[in-house]
């Protein structure tokens, strides 16, 4: 466990924030695909990230020692890279498939949001209470980076390497998400978001599309959880309260719904800069006052955004027809047969 980290304290700190940024960006991209493009309000998002984190942890921790050891869990094994990340991704996907099959039934969007929020609460309670599952509320510790042995250090022992590793994975996935969003499939998602009945009356299978985007988003969430847990080395219910989902939603709202550039800005602003600034402020009042006020400000920011810039700092981009490489010269008028 003893990683001789020679990096300066500042660069270590910034590196951690950047790793978190990668994880948050993955989350925000995934949530934006679901919410900004497909209009699915996944208030249970954090559960899928948690699932990925737990699975990535247990498949690398080795067989559980059972009740006698200080942590107990299911699925204990020693999977080598990249299988543990694949397992995390798969966990997110499978869980979202299961949840999606009932939660995505056709209903009012606000009901759907409420149901997913409830799913989030149920999951938290089950995992906290059911110790044999993932060691209950104590959570899992001692998770290592698969390349730890190779570089003789834990992820926090060689943070730059880990950042590079996470950044490459993050970049590839984010580019993939952007590409999919701009594809005809992404366009179908937006049609579904704008008018469900019309989209289905034009031949789009809404049920399937919604499930697809839910599972894909869940898979990315699972992956992000895996990346996060390998860095911090521990994971417990404290890390995935349902409020965490709202932090990511706020990032999207602030940045710009449906615009990935905006989402990136939002991710930088909300979960990173905004939540770090209070650490630099001198302490006021009793301990914890700053933290309470911080959340009050998150709430106000959220409300003000909805009031003044409901589409975020950088709103969704208009995709001009010319982007599709379409001919602008008059084509011969063509009948319907």
């Amino acid at each position: 466990m003893e990683g001789g980290s020679d990096v300066g304290a500042w660069s270590f700190y910034i590196t951690t924030l950047l790793v978190y940024f990668v994880v948050d960006a993955l989350s925000a991209f995934s949530l934006n695909l679901q919410f900004g493009y497909a209009g699915v309000v996944n208030f249970g998002f954090i559960v899928f990230q948690a699932a990925g984190a737990y699975v990535a942890a247990v498949v690398t921790l080795g067989p559980s020692g059972g009740q006698a050891s200080f942590q107990q869990y299911i699925l204990g094994s020693h999977l080598p890279f990249p299988l543990e990340l694949l397992a995390a991704t798969l966990a997110g996907a499978v869980l979202s498939l299961v949840v999606g099959l009932f939660a995505l039934r056709r209903m009012r969007r606000d009901y759907q949001a409420a149901v997913l929020l409830i799913v989030s609460l149920i999951a938290l309670q089950v995992v906290s209470a059911d110790v044999p599952l993932f060691n209950g509320s104590n959570g899992l510790t001692g998770v290592t980076w698969p390349f730890g042995q190779l570089f003789g250090a834990t992820a926090t022992g060689s943070p730059f390497l880990y950042l590079g590793y996470a950044a490459i994975i993050g970049l590839l996935v984010c580019l993939g998400v952007i590409w999919l969003s701009r594809s005809p499939w992404g366009r179908s998602l937006r049609a579904m978001r704008d008018h469900e009945d019309a989209a289905s009356a034009m031949g789009l299978n809404i049920t399937s599309l919604r499930l697809q985007v839910f599972v894909l988003g869940g898979a990315i969430a699972g992956l992000s959880g895996g990346l996060l847990v390998e860095y911090i080395g521990a994971w417990s219910p404290g890390a995935w309260g349902y409020a965490e989902t709202f932090v990511i939603f706020t990032a999207i709202f602030v940045g710009g719904v449906g615009n990935y550039r905006g989402v990136l800005v939002g991710t930088l602003l909300v979960p990173i800069i905004f939540l770090e600034i209070p650490r630099f402020l001198p302490a006021v009042g009793y301990p914890g006052l700053t933290d309470s006020l911080e959340w009050v400000v998150v709430g106000l920011a959220w409300m003000l955004c909805l009031l003044f810039r409901p589409r975020g700092i950088i709103p969704e981009r208009r995709l001009k027809a010319s982007l599709h490489g379409s001919p602008r010269e008059p084509a011969p008028a063509e009948g319907s047969a």
């Binding site: 466990m1 003893e2 990683g3 001789g4 980290s5 300066g8 304290a9 500042w10 270590f12 700190y13 951690t16 924030l17 978190y20 009740q67 006698a68 050891s69 200080f70 309670q125 906290s128 209470a129 110790v131 209950g136 509320s137 104590n138 959570g139 510790t141 001692g142 834990t154 926090t156 022992g157 996060l228 911090i232 080395g233 521990a234 994971w235 417990s236 219910p237 404290g238 890390a239 615009n259 550039r261 990136l264 800005v265 930088l268 602003l269 800069i273 770090e276 600034i277 650490r279 630099f280 402020l281 001198p282 302490a283 009793y286 301990p287 914890g288 933290d291 309470s292 700092i313 950088i314």
Partner: protein, 431 residues
């Protein structure tokens, strides 16, 4: 294009805020003062940990600073909020390390964030006095990790020994399902098993329920003659209130964690001071007898009273606070002994100023220690929690004491469970 400009502007603004903010932090505090950081949950569900800590660290700093500080430096306390979550703790601690060049010691980390934070602090070569009961640290190899706190299993064993002494034969375990409470449960169960005491009910309380009536009736039907318990204050208040109103009150033995003001207040309110005094016992880390160190601790609490989040009385009786206090005094004495506030230098002196040894001068507070050290003597700090003796894993824990609270709110000692007796119980299953 506009979007890109905006992004750059935002990034610049953010960066300048960061720089400005850290500039202001670096220059805060008096010149020459040194920082003792408390890495602990200040908000969130484990926020009581933060209160426990400041109740101990602030009196320690008061005492040290009033005795002239450490080698002429004043010590200041800085709370670092982990929110009880490793993911939040990591950047918080790194920010601390990055912005605090005058950091000399850390109080904490607490249970939830220890696995992530201990390696980071250890790499940064900052001595820490952890209050994390996890058995994983019973055999720690971290050079900068120090624990003056019994592992969870020790407290559990003491509870079982106390039950045996009181001839209780049917135990009901009532524990909250939160992380802190669950951490202490295995030690209790394993100790009871080792001593062949029957567990007639093992009830888990999910915090913040509207009612625990079903759990209460489950408990009553098991007919225990004692309840062993730990949970958060609100849950305990509700549970024991309902237990009393349904007429099921039996003696209660609480873990060390129950002996803190919020818990005591909540349960006392729920069942009334008279019943509380009659039924409640807690096993806490305790001095063998009132010593000069306890007097020093009480004085320190009074001196720091205006800074404390709770009343003097409740801080004085808080075993966690006393543990933190002893830890910080020990670290400060080590700095004096090493004639250096450099963490990597004074770290080696920590056992030297605490562990007992032949020919050592016993000191009971910081000022005495400084005086003896300046006189060229070797010292042994005998703490408010009693004898401090670090083993090779940097662990030190003392006797346990059974206490209750009088109707007027004073700690009343009921008897002792010695380290020797605890170590004699062959507890299995808790590594």
């Amino acid at each position: 294009m506009q979007a890109r400009k905006l992004m750059v502007a935002v990034a610049l603004a953010a960066l300048s805020t960061l720089v400005a903010a850290c500039g202001s932090t670096a220059s805060s505090g008096k010149k020459g003062s040194l920082v003792v950081a408390g890495v602990i949950a200040i908000t969130g569900t484990s926020s009581f940990e933060g209160s426990n800590q400041s109740e101990g660290v602030l009196p320690a700093l008061y005492e040290i600073n009033h005795a002239g500080g450490v080698l002429g430096h004043q010590l200041v306390y800085k709370g670092v909020d982990t929110r009880g979550d490793p993911a939040d703790a990591l950047p918080a601690v790194q920010q601390l390390l990055a912005t605090t060049s005058n950091l000399v010691a850390v109080a904490g980390p607490g249970t939830a964030s220890a696995p992530t934070i201990v390696p980071v602090l250890n790499s940064a070569k900052i001595p820490m006095t952890a209050v994390a009961g996890e058995s994983a640290y019973d055999q720690s190899h971290y050079q900068y990790f120090w624990r003056l706190f019994p592992p969870d299993s020790a407290n559990g064993t003491a509870m079982a020994l106390w039950a045996q002494r009181k001839h209780y034969t049917r135990v009901a375990a009532v524990f909250g399902s939160d992380a802190g409470s669950q951490g202490d449960l295995p030690g209790v169960l394993a100790s009871l098993q080792a001593m062949h005491i029957q567990v007639v009910a093992n009830i888990s309380l999910t915090p913040d329920q509207s009612s625990y009536q079903s759990s209460v009736s489950q408990l009553i039907q098991a007919h225990p003659d004692v309840i062993m318990t730990e949970s958060d204050a609100g849950t305990a208040g509700t549970f024991f209130g309902e237990l009393k109103s349904l007429g099921g009150l039996v003696p209660i033995i609480g873990t060390e964690a129950t002996y803190t003001t919020p818990w005591l207040t909540a349960v006392q309110n729920a069942i009334g001071p008279t019943d509380f005094h009659q039924y409640f016992t807690s096993l806490i880390t305790a001095p063998s007898k009132p010593t000069a160190a306890v007097t020093a601790w009480n004085d320190a609490v009074k001196g720091a009273a205006h800074q404390l989040p709770v009343s003097v009385n409740s801080a004085e009786n808080n075993p966690f606070a006393i543990t933190y206090y002893d830890g910080i005094i020990t670290l400060a004495l080590a700095m004096v002994a090493a004639k250096s506030t450099t963490p990597s230098v004074y770290n080696n002196y920590i056992p030297k100023v605490a562990d007992p040894g032949p020919g050592k001068t016993v000191v009971y507070n910081f000022a005495q220690g400084v005086k003896a050290l300046n006189a060229g003597k070797q010292i042994e700090y005998f703490g408010a929690t009693g004898l401090i003796d670090f083993n090779k894993y940097h662990n030190s824990f003392g006797n346990q004491e059974a206490v209750t609270l009088s109707a007027s709110g004073k700690t009343v000692s009921l008897g002792q469970v010695s380290v020797a007796a605890i170590e004699a119980v062959p507890v299995k299953g808790v590594a």
